[in-house]
Amino acid sequence: MRRGPVQKALAVVAHRSVILAFTAFAIFPFYWMLITAFKQNSDLYVGASNTAHNPFIFNQPPTLIHLRILFQNTLYPTWLFNTLWVGAIVVIITLVLAVPAAYSLARLTGRWGERLSIGIFLTYLVPSTLLFIPFSRLVALLGLQNQLGALVLIYPTFTVPFCTWLLMGFFKTLPKEVEESAMVDGCSRLGAIGRVVLPLAIPGLLTVVIFALTLTIQEFVYSLTFISSVERMTVSVGVPVALVRGDVYYWGSLMAACLITSAPLAVIYNFFLDRFIAGFTVGAIK
């Protein structure tokens, strides 16, 4: 089984090529957004059949015109604001519902609680594409058509189960002695939760805030279904649906919007990746 230097070198080259190929595949669309966002229109709209014009590079100096159009002549800033507004309220609702539920499932319920937590886990599997039709009835009944309120009402259907599950796992990792000693010192159970458990759970709570917010920013189907006025759209729908004037795509501004929205999310995801994986794999990894 001993390998010579040649095989070793080959293995390194193979490994590097695999990494390089996958990285290129993953980031190419983002590179494309980046270069499109800063290209002049005369550099952008050259038909692909012209092989003399290399579209991968700037053939003319870069420009900021698309960014200026995006922020000054489109509703992109409004969509950003709408998205963060919805996101903030959804985060609050999610915390109010998920934190007590997760604590209860981790500490205060016996066997039936474990069964219940499996039920919550399985609501992961109920897709928005099955629920948007009944929701459209519900939204009409409540008079919430074309209101951001509809999204605030519905978005917790995916944030609450996901975050309850995540937090439950987190609470279970805290030693029970933490509350028990506080309760021996005279705290009630609720007092112990407020004074001892929640401060210890801040990393978990932060994770939940981040995920509720990012899931809200990413959501597309419900927002597409329930919001029809351009000025009330969220980013994920406003950009693909309304950033087209007439039949003309403004690709420069479009790609700038895609990149500006995606990049911060990518950074955030990277920081919280391990907890995110835990949310999907609790039980499957020991």
């Binding site: 695999v18 990494i19 059949s49 009835r137 994986i277």
Partner: protein, 311 residues
């Protein structure tokens, strides 16, 4: 073994034995709001979806009458629906096979230590972090009929001769190729990080012990890696399958189901009929066809984790 224990953390809840009645009451109280919300906004709408599929309900009014299985009868004889059903399976199976093969390859490559690994991990994760609608928009521009950079590259290397051209989103086959490409691109990071977590969780001592016992690479693969990876592999496959089977984002944004409804999947067709077309009953009956697979996936998920617990 109980399924409950399999999915939650391995340590059994000993506290359950010592809970006071007060704690039990508090437990129910803390759980109630979340359960009420999930019941009202997930469970009831789910039942409402089943109910609506049996009515002639439409978007314009709240009146409806009961039509029995008429929607389903109309739907299953419709060629557009049958095409969408077939597309959904092609889309799901091809995407999942590709994601699993590529995801395993990538996860193994990422298991090794190398310079710039953190940067690579960040870059590879980007497709999953970006909002799907915006990421797909980037691909829409890449697949543009006039300005496609793919066509430019193919022309330069001579694959496309003079007068030859690919209309990526204007052709049923190329359309499906584009849809699957984007979906694999999007799902690959998710599956890779989950598989990577599985690979990392196999303790090095297990491999060392096997080496001492003289196990070859094949024996190690079949007797250590695959059995130990099975639960996590299942998680990746099940979530991936559900995400793919029920997805409408990519199809809606890339092709809108076109040309001539040839690239619809069930979810995008349900949207077109139930929301854009306003025929709520019909849309609901199409979406209901997602259900059998979801039920199977739910059962499999419970089963596999139980088996993992026994093993």
């Amino acid at each position: 073994m109980d399924t409950a224990e399999a999915l939650t953390t391995p340590a059994p809840l000993k506290a359950a034995d010592t809970l006071s009645p007060r704690d039990r009451r508090l437990g129910k109280l803390l759980l109630a709001p979340a359960l009420a919300y999930i019941f009202l906004l997930v469970a009831l709408p789910f039942l409402l979806a089943l109910f609506l599929s049996l009515t002639n309900s439409s978007a314009g009014s709240l009146d409806f009458s009961f039509v029995g299985l008429q929607n389903f009868k109309n739907v299953v004889t419709n060629p557009v629906f049958l095409r969408a059903l077939r597309n959904t399976f092609v889309f799901t199976v091809v995407s999942q096979v590709l994601v699993m093969v590529l995801g395993n390859l990538l996860a193994r490559a990422l298991l090794k230590n190398f310079r710039g690994k953190l940067l690579v991990r960040f870059l590879i994760l980007m497709p999953w972090a970006a909002p799907i609608s915006l990421a797909t928009l980037g691909w829409l521009w890449i697949f543009d009929s006039t300005f496609s950079v793919i066509n430019w590259a193919l022309k330069v290397v001579g694959w496309l001769g003079p007068g030859q051209w690919y209309y990526w989103l204007g052709d049923p086959t190329l359309g499906m190729v584009a849809i699957i490409t984007v979906h694999v691109w999007r799902l690959l990071p998710f599956s890779t990080v989950i598989l990577l977590a599985g690979l990392t969780s196999i303790p090095a001592e297990v491999h060392e012990a096997a080496d001492i016992d003289g196990a070859g690479p094949l024996a190690k693969a079949f007797q250590i890696t695959i059995p130990m990876m099975l639960p996590i592999l299942t998680v990746a496959i099940l979530f991936g399958t559900v995400f793919t089977f029920t997805d409408m984002n990519v199809v809606y944004l890339l092709t809108r189901g076109g040309p001539y409804n040839s690239t619809h999947v069930l979810a995008s067709l349900a949207y077109q009929e139930g929301v854009l077309g306003g025929d709520v009953g019909r849309g609901a009956s199409i979406a209901i066809f997602l259900l059998p697979l979801l039920v199977v996936m739910a059962i499999l998920m419970l089963r596999t984790s139980r088996r993992a617990e026994v093993a």
